[in-house]
Amino acid sequence: MIRSTTIRNGMLALLPFAILLLTVCVPAQTPQATPPPPTAPRTVQFPRPVEKTLSNGLRVVVVQRSEMPLVSAQLLIKSGGEVDPTELSGVADMTAALLTRGTKTRTATQIAEQIEALGGSIASSAGWDSSGATVGVTTARINSAVEILADVIRNPAFKDEEIERLRRQYLNNLKVSMGQPGSIARFAAARLVYRDAPYGHLLSGTPESLPRIKRDDIVRIHDQFYRPDNAILVIGGDMTAENGFALAQKYFGDWAKPATDLPKMSVGIPVSDTKNRRIVVIDMPDAGQAAVLAARTGINRGSPDYFRGIVSNAVLSGYSGRLNWEIRVKRGLSYGAGSTLDTRRWAGSFSASAQTKNDSGAEVASLTLGEISKLATGDLPDKELTTRKASLNGNFARGLETTSGLVTQVSSLAIYGVNFDQLNQFVGNVQAVRAEDVKDFAAEHLNIDSTSMIVVGDARKFLPALQKQFPQVEVIPVGELDLNTASLRRAVSKN
């Protein structure tokens, strides 16, 4: 059931809720006039995942927490949208989505009916760097749910009828996304950051690529990448390691590893520099707001700069982060401004965004770049750094409070080959980052002269002001936008 609600902060509400542990002293005087100080803090220990590898190469991870009779199981393939051939963007995601749309012995409807009769749910999709399917059920039903999970991963039918149905759904979904200035900005930003390299295309395809995808392309993705030695099974919640390993053996133990080698992949990603920096306006005359987005390459997940990076991002992002503080709290220019450090296997990106009324598009663009720039050049008082680290650690802990949050976090570590000890070392690693580290990180990775900017909205309202800051601004009418190419511009038709 859904209830109409309007909330103070939309961004925060999307985060999962819960824990933390740091102490910042609030001065105490008379009890009524100033806040009473905190009592002694209590510490927290997150569950420790255990793992084993089956003889076919499948890595199995179990993370137990039994307060609620709920279990989530996720089967991940360590390849995602980055393996899409250039002309076929969306094929890895279609392949993953089709897993739950029919197997050799179950129709799409039977899969949905069987898992939902258990009170559970099943979903499958591809992301960047991984694909897979997830089931969530009450403990008593986990056996049946994992049996269905194994069936959809191992025996998908990829029926033509289902492929056509899904293709139409994806095309319809794209139409809806293209009506949102915020989604257009995100789609275009990927091209500005990664250009024609993998990660630059749309994960769920484009109006041009989707019609080109054939059943053979889908089967090829499944044959190449869906194999036990390229997969990880993560089971979390009310489940012991022993039972989890037994379930894995029962339903995935006889999944044969192909004789052929896994395709080797190495991706070269261009690093943002001043030469390829672009300032792009996508003119959407009917837009109800302007979406402002600054984007550039960042760091990959394995980078030794990871913790310096996420702390730097936390100084900029979050409710009291500098972007939201300057843009929303001080000036009332947006409902929310923030940034993301997206770290992937081969590369990563940094982006900062906000939506604002069309008239203030240029002002928000300037404030956004200004705050990013100050991170390298301005002061970062210890007090501010301490509070931003506390906020980062609190968000991390709250994310682990639910079964699905725990499984998502453990899966992410597993996909990137990060040691599970990082779950319990996260807080310490964050605490070790100093103000100089943030400054160095920003100087090295977040230079604004090589950061691109996109504004999607009613250009008449902000273009003149934006041109004053950026004489090189390119304007692309939304009807001429082409997400298949780094130029973002549709080739002019000769007819």
Binding site: M1, R8, F17, I19, L20, R168, Y335
Partner: protein
């Protein structure tokens, strides 16, 4: 469109009880063992000890919502909610964030038609600090003109972000606006730019004095704390707040029964695919039929085996998305069916498909297996809701304030489990009638008939 929040949570109905589940379900719903007390000034206090994490969730529910917006001030209750984070007697603007976010916690608030809810999740050693802070903002606000105006600008951006920027924002806005004829529920919670612009600091002070009083508030604390210590802190910080002598105004307007089908068509500049909506007026969430309406929502739209997904999206492929929503409220509710029409299909086809599903519910009783499935889905949702202290606190708040009895947090699932196939058919027949149906089309400008388009042109010239 309001921000919509998935709420088997705050829900109204759909809570659960100890060990309910049918024999087949086998799953025990852990009981929420709450303590309850009421202070002399009327403050209702509920608490639950849960030591599984070193945190505590605090909620303060005020029984005032957007239905209580002052005249010509639509959106005011929600604007006011934002102002509660500005300065108070002893706190500077944004100090709530200093006491939560800066120590690793977080805070937020939301406004609905009937309630306004403020909450924090904090390390449990900060409990006393936050009780002090919540008591302080209940005692009085000292917001100045500058802070008021900048926060009002934020709310106006929230309006643009939720109503103007998304392609179907105006569609969902229209659905709420036109579905009620007299009750103030016809004012969408987010309000309008004109009414927000008209709001003043004087309105803020009057609204606080009228509704933000201990006898109109419920404090809920769930997590890791010592109950005796909690009682002492609550007495110390909330006890001295006086209950005003003024009467507490309540909306008296009753929404009249609908007298026949109405149809509404609107056109928008940025409408990628047509939108179709049907609303039926349904009774209060306190009604005996409320659990059945919740069950109908689940049967129609939860998951890919649901009836709307199967017929509109999978088989007929007439819709890009399709939804049912039992939007139950305190005084009267709506049962909405909405669909975004697939490319190449007509809105009339989507409407016919939605109505065919309604007719099927009226003509044939649902199978035992389908009913069992819906009940199992509700159990799982409720378990997920209760994984966190915040989720538990919100379930408890909703039972107490909206259903009027905290015990409902533990008995509501029994009511849901008791729903029969005959109930489902009876309720579908009772409310989903031709006379009670409003139908909405939200179409791209390009579909506007030529004559209508000429009229608008003329209007535009005047402006």
């Amino acid at each position: 469109m309001m921000r919509r929040r998935f709420l088997l949570t705050l829900v109204a109905c759909a809570l659960l009880a100890a060990g309910v589940a049918s024999a087949k379900a086998q799953t025990q719903m852990p009981r929420i063992n709450f303590r309850e007390r009421t202070l002399k000034n009327g403050l209702h206090v509920l608490s639950v000890v849960d030591k599984s994490s070193p945190t505590v969730a605090i909620n303060v529910w005020y029984h005032v919502g957007s239905k209580d917006d002052p005249d010509h001030r639509s959106g005011f209750a929600h604007l006011f909610e934002h102002i509660m984070f500005k300065s108070t007697r002893n706190m500077k603007a944004e100090m709530m964030d200093r006491l939560t976010e800066d120590v690793g916690g977080n805070n937020n608030a939301f406004t609905e038609d009937d309630v306004t809810v403020y909450y924090e999740v904090i390390p449990s050693n900060y409990l006393e600090t936050l009780l002090w802070a919540e008591a302080d903002r209940l005692s009085g606000l000292t917001v100045d003109e500058e802070n008021f105006k900048s926060e009002r600008a934020v709310v106006e951006e929230e309006y643009r972000q939720s109503v103007l920027a998304p392609p179907y924002g105006k569609f969902f806005y229209m659905l709420q606006q036109k579905s009620f004829s007299s009750h103030p529920y016809q004012r969408p919670t987010i309000g309008s730019i004109e009414d927000l612009d008209a709001a003043t600091l004087e309105n803020v002070q009057k609204f606080h004095a009228t509704y933000y009083r201990p006898d109109n508030a419920t404090l809920i604390v769930v997590g890791n704390f010592d109950p005796k210590q909690l009682d002492a802190w609550v007495d110390k910080y909330f006890g001295p707040i006086e209950k005003p002598n003024l009467p507490l105004p309540r909306v008296q307007t009753k929404e009249a029964e609908r007298a026949g089908e109405k149809r509404f068509t609107e056109y928008g500049a940025n409408v990628p695919l047509p939108g179709v909506g049907i609303t039926y007026l349904v009774p209060s969430e306190k009604s005996e039929d409320a659990p059945v309406l919740t069950m109908l929502d689940v049967i129609l739209s939860q998951g890919r085996s649901s009836r709307l997904y199967q017929s509109l999206i999978y088989q007929q492929q007439v819709a890009q998305s399709a939804n049912a929503n039992a939007d139950l409220k305190e005084d009267a509710g709506l049962f909405d069916l909405t669909a975004i029409v697939a490319a190449g299909k007509k809105p009339e086809d989507a409407e016919a498909a939605l109505r065919a599903e309604i007719k099927k519910l009226q003509d044939e009783p649902i199978s035992a297996a389908e009913l069992e499935k819906a009940k199992n889905q509700i159990i799982t949702s409720q378990l997920r809701q209760r994984e966190t202290n915040l989720g538990k606190s919100q379930s408890l708040g909703s039972a107490t304030v909206l259903l009027g009895d905290p015990n409902r947090v533990n008995t509501e699932l029994e009511r849901l489990q008791a729903v029969t196939a005959a109930d489902v058919q009876r309720v579908a027949k009772k409310y989903f009638t031709d006379q009670n149906r409003y139908v909405f089309f939200y179409l791209p400008e390009s579909m506007r008939p030529a004559s209508a388009s000429a009229r608008v042109q003329a209007k535009g010239d005047v402006k």
